[in-house]
């Protein structure tokens, strides 16, 4: 069994605060991490409110409860580290630095949205921030993550691609094909399984065959794997750092399973959200395993922040989110002719190729 390497075991598993990547954090950095998690939570809460007001279409998959996964892993990344995820994508988008305005506007289908109103909640993108989406088809992003890693290696860059996926997505064939290629060709991809215990209404034991955990399947491909407790930001960062270094130094893949929990239904329209799991289970997670509360407590214990300072930070974030909501509500819908834009690069760029032959068909 290849789980963690010797060098990595040297960290006292009980105290990830002592890991190098965490010891180097300044007080300001630690507050920054709290800010990022709070921004996600408040963004999601306002999104839910807007959804319930009927100004959003389609699906809304909330990330509330899972914030430490995106923030912890993305906070260690550098210029050549890339991110791709599934439809539960708001947390990752904000964590890579996308603006709240463009994200909120996208959910409302406005022209000012990050995808000009074309993608919606499930399809945020910002390649300038190394964020490659936002993908609606379960598991569809897993070969793309592999491809980003391939591209990095091809270009001779020391980087990685963190490809996020759910505990249900691990049963898509494309993921297994990707694992094999990643191992065979030594590609710097990190598959982060955000194990929130459910794929829609299906518990893991009803969807996945495994020995002990989902990440352990990587053994079959000779890929190093690990599991992390997603309520502990220090642990997420420490373990993600191991994966990142493995990608940077050795161009090797990792499967990192992170235990986490979603407080809301699969999507906002999940009518069964409280049927396939007990309200007590949800309450227990909120009360004892909330990544944001636990981090706040840590910051207070470490003397980094006081409760009052946390309160103030939270207030400023709430203001930021409310302003973003107003921005989105005030923004215009895209013009009808934009339906035909962004389909072909050659057409949009008025090239010879784009004007040779007919590209679009009327009725």
């Amino acid at each position: 069994m290849i789980s963690v390497t010797e060098e990595e075991v040297a960290i006292d598993p009980a105290d990830y605060a002592q890991a190098k990547i965490n010891k180097s954090l300044s007080s300001k950095d630690k507050i920054g991490l709290l800010r990022e998690m709070l921004r996600i939570r408040r963004f999601e809460q306002v999104s839910l409110k807007l959804y319930n007001q009927g100004v959003m279409a389609g699906f809304l998959h909330l990330y509330i409860g899972q914030e430490a996964v995106a923030v912890g892993t993305i906070s260690i990344m550098g210029d050549n580290d890339h991110v791709i995820t599934a439809y539960r994508d708001h947390g990752h988008a904000l964590a890579v630095g996308m603006g709240m305005n463009e994200c909120m506007a996208e959910q409302l289908g406005k022209a000012t949205g990050c995808s000009r109103g074309k993608g919606g909640s499930m399809h945020f993108f910002d390649p300038d921030k190394n964020f490659w989406g936002g993908h609606g088809i379960v598991g569809g992003q897993t070969p793309l993550g592999l491809g980003l890693a391939y591209g990095l290696k091809y270009k001779g860059l020391k980087g990685s691609c963190f490809c996020y996926m759910g505990d249900g997505a691990v049963n898509q064939g494309a993921y297994h094909e990707s694992l094999n290629i990643a191992a065979l060709w030594k590609l710097p991809v990190v598959y982060v399984i955000e194990n929130n215990k459910y794929s829609m209404g299906t518990t893991i034991d009803r969807s996945s065959a495994m020995r002990n955990c989902l990440a352990e399947r990587a053994d079959g491909y000779g890929i190093v794997w690990d599991i992390a407790n997603g309520e502990d930001l220090y642990e997420v960062r420490a373990k993600a750092q191991n994966a990142l270094e493995r990608a940077h130094k050795h161009s090797l893949p990792t499967v990192l399973e992170i235990d986490t929990y979603r407080y809301y239904g699969h999507s906002v329209s999940d009518a069964n959200a409280k049927k396939y799991r007990s309200p007590e289970e949800i309450e227990r997670h909120k009360a004892h395993h909330d990544p944001i509360h636990l981090w706040q407590k840590r910051l207070v214990d470490e003397g980094v922040m006081t409760d009052e300072e946390i309160e103030k930070l939270d207030e400023s974030i709430k203001n930021e989110v409310n302003a973003a909501a107003q921005f989105a509500l005030d923004s215009e819908f895209p013009a009808p002719e934009t339906i035909f834009e962004d389909v072909y690069w050659e057409v949009d760029n008025n090239t010879a190729a784009g004007s040779t032959g007919r590209h679009f068909f009327g009725d």
Partner: protein
């Protein structure tokens, strides 16, 4: 006659077929304990148990292919795709395996499988979730495809599909699941390949399938009320096999045709119908065949624009008036 929803009509068809034939088994994501993502299979697991109603992992290639394999041995799996858009990860199983195995085996193997689920845009779920692949399926000899527009048709066609000895793809519509129509209590089956006149008319023919039939009916009402024009609405119901005679009959009657199709125009179902009409009924036509399809781009998310991307009654009326 009782009024029931499109959803309930399919649910009844599944229940009746489970009872009628011990080889019928419902398989798909969240179909059992969760009652189906769109509640089409509601109550079936409770009534019929684990053997007949089976939840799967999110492994469409695996479980659709499994259904094809089981059907070769005489099982009659009714596979639910939560969205037909997810069929694309199982395309090899549907097209190459279900679609070709009878031919490749010289007729020694057949696949009595049904693959069903919603295939429509218009719900704000974006390009990857809004596909209407009936034209792709119809382009594959070996496969059959039906697109019911009403609860009555959904029930009758579903039963025919389950009893059919070839692979049948049933494309439903999430926007129709909650709509109600009259459906008799008595058992009935609608054969595949029989179109249905949903509205009699003399001046022009609207030919459509799936939810586009509803759009065409609305357009016909507008034409009657505002212009005194009587449009006939022909619902194809089944795309392959196709009721060519019904198409030719309505063309011979009205001499003018608007095809209404939620497919994209290029190589969509309506392109085939248009070609067929000019080949076989050229002399009956008093005007060129017109089409109203989805606007030719991926499905846009923005709720404001998605509405106009799909065929609307207004666009149908506009096209009709151009040839009247």
């Amino acid at each position: 006659m009782p009024q029931i929803t499109y959803r309930k009509a399919i649910n009844d068809a599944l229940a009746e077929e489970i009872i009628r034939d011990e080889n019928v088994v419902i398989i798909g994501e969240e179909v059992a304990r969760y009652n189906g993502a769109y509640k089409v299979t509601e109550g079936l697991w409770e009534r019929f148990g684990d053997k007949r109603v089976v939840d799967t992992p999110i492994s469409e290639a695996g479980f659709i292919g499994m259904g094809v394999g089981a059907s070769m041995l005489g099982i009659r799996p009714v596979m639910e795709l939560m969205f037909w858009s997810f069929a694309y990860v199982a395309w090899d199983q549907i097209i190459n395996n279900a679609g070709q195995v009878r031919y490749m085996s010289g007729g020694r193997i057949h696949c009595p499988i049904v693959i069903r689920g919603p295939a429509n845009g218009g719900t704000g779920v974006g390009a990857t979730h809004s596909h209407t692949p009936e034209n792709f399926i119809a382009n594959t000899p070996g496969l059959k495809v039906v697109c019911p527009a009403t609860a009555y048709d959904a029930k009758g066609l579903m039963k025919a599909a389950i009893r059919d000895n070839d692979p049948v793809c049933v494309m439903e519509n999430t926007l129709l699941y909650g709509e109600t129509w009259e459906v008799p209590d008595e058992e009935y089956v609608i054969p595949l390949g029989v179109a249905d006149i949903k509205r009699e008319g003399t001046d022009i023919s609207f030919i459509a399938h799936g939810r586009a039939v509803i759009t065409a009916l609305k357009a016909a009402e507008i034409l009657a009320a505002e212009h005194g024009i009587q449009a006939e609405v022909l619902d194809l119901r089944s795309i392959r096999p196709l009721d060519e005679e019904a198409i030719l009959r309505t063309v011979a009657k009205t001499h003018r045709v608007v095809l209404v199709d939620e497919n994209k125009p290029f190589c969509g179902v309506s392109a085939q119908i248009a070609a067929m009409i000019q080949e076989q009924a050229f002399d009956d036509l008093d005007a060129p065949v017109q089409r109203v399809c989805s606007l030719d781009a991926p499905a846009i998310y923005s709720p404001a624009l998605e509405k106009i991307q799909l065929p609307t009654p207004e666009r149908v009326v506009y096209k009709a008036l151009q040839i009247l």
